[in-house]
Structure formats: C-alpha cells, structure tokens
C-alpha cells in the first residue's frame, strides 16, 4: 500500500482509532493522542507493515494496542526509577472526575464499570460493542485465540451488566 493511500485509510479510521487508543490508555486523552501519533509515525515510516492477512482496521487496532502497552510499560518503568509513581496516581485520580463530568451519566456509568473489568475483558467488550467488530476480529486485534476471546467476552459482559445494574 502506497503512503498516500495509507494516509487516506488511517484518516478514515482516525475517530475509531482514537476511541480505541483511549480505551488502551485507560481513557487518558494525552496518552491516547501520544500513542496514536507514534502509531501513525510507525506506519507511515514503514516500521509497521500491513500484510493483508486481516482487515486494515483489525491490524491498525492491534498496532495501537501493542504500542499502548509497550508505551505504558516504558512509562511505568521510568516512573518507578524516578519514584514518581505516587505523584502520578494522585494526578490521575484528580483528573478522572473532570473527564467523567464531560460525558453523560450513562457514559460515566459505563466508563466506571469498564474500569472495574480485567484488561482483556474490557478490550473484547469495547471491540465488539464500541467498534462493532466480531469476536473473531477482536481476537485477531488482541492477539488471543477465538476461544479465549469468547470466554473474556462472556465473563466480561456478565460482570459489566452486573456492575451497571448495581450502579442504577
């Protein structure tokens, strides 16, 4: 795929990619934007190549997920070394209510319930419900087997519904 063609394709997917990056970064906007920029640079520089084995969206989401995880690991390690962990937690807790206030009550409830799920359960549910992917596509984006994705989906959905009904 040529660079211009790829640019157009990722521009079309940009809103969905941003939503997925937000999900991978615990709904931290700054981190999500940074991850997305790094992903675009990786793709346009040819460091991440689309080989056509899945849909472009599935592949792009896998790259975003991988980049977000490695960036989060690097950041955590850096903060551990510089003993900034405690300060970061305080900042994050302080910014959460502001972000939640901007969304409606339903969204805030959903986001809170999603935060309480395990990472893979949250990921599969967001890929299926938020991004309208099939469980097979979600499994490919998450680099897990379809069976594992189904289990995460079932358990996650059950817990999410319980959380949301409990919040009501």
């Amino acid at each position: 795929m040529q660079r211009a063609e790829m640019e157009r394709a990722i521009e079309e997917l940009h809103p969905a990619s941003y939503g997925w990056a937000l999900s991978c970064c615990g709904r931290n906007r700054e981190e999500a934007e940074e991850v997305l920029q790094n992903v675009y640079v990786k793709i346009l520089d040819g460091k991440a190549r689309f080989n056509g084995r899945s849909s472009l969206k599935t592949w792009l989401f896998a790259v975003i997920r991988h980049t977000a995880i490695s960036q989060s690991r690097r950041r955590a390690l850096g903060e551990l070394l510089t003993a900034k962990w405690a300060r970061r937690e305080i900042v994050r807790v302080a910014t959460m209510p502001d972000a939640a206030a901007e969304t409606s009550q339903v969204c805030a409830g959903l986001v809170d319930a999603l935060r309480k799920l395990a990472r893979r359960q949250r990921e599969v549910l967001e890929l299926v419900f938020y991004h309208d992917m099939t469980i097979e596509e979600a499994a490919a984006a998450m680099h897990v087997s379809i069976g594992a994705a189904r289990v995460h989906y079932q358990r996650g959905k059950k817990q999410l519904l319980a959380q949301m009904n409990g919040n009501r």
């Binding site: 640019e7 990722i10 521009e11 940009h14 809103p15 941003y18 939503g19 937000l22 906007r29 934007e33 920029q37 675009y40 640079v41 346009l44 520089d45 901007e102 969304t103 409606s104 339903v106 969204c107 409830g109 959903l110 986001v111 967001e126 419900f129 938020y130 959905k157 999410l160 519904l161 949301m164 009904n165 009501r168």
Partner: protein
Amino acid sequence: MNDDLLRQAFAELRRVEAEQAPKFVVPALRVRDHLKPVLRLAFAALLLIIIILSFRRPPEPSITAWKAPTDFLLATPGRELLQSTPDLKGIRR
C-alpha cells in the same frame, strides 16, 4: 439491562468521544529516520577506509639499500685493528 441497552450505552460513549477526537494530522517524517540509510552508508564507507588504511603494508625498501638489523653487533671494540695491516717498518733493522 440487556445487550441492546449495552449497545446504546456504548454508542453514546462512541458519539461523545468521537466529538472529542483531535483532528487527524499527518505526522511529518523525522529527518533523522529519513537520513538513516545515508548515514549508515557513510559510516560503512568510513569504516572501510579505516580498515584499508590500517591494513595497507608500508612500501618495501630496495634490496640495495637493505641493511641487516643486527649489523651493529659486528662493530665490536678493537675491530679497526683487525681491519688494517699493522706497519712493521719501524721495527726492521
């Protein structure tokens, strides 16, 4: 709450977050990355030149100009006496 309501809640979240999405900006190619192949080539060429220069043999001296490196050992004290004939005229009668 069933699947449909869950879908609605996610759709609402997607709508809200899509509105907050930053504008798509094409990231410019980093100059450093762009120059990487050129820099690599230049480095390889420099390395090659250094290797060639360090392994190059010095020019061989001419055979007529050659001198044994242990020649100085032959210059022993009193050697000049052996190289000349002693003058015995003075002691003849």
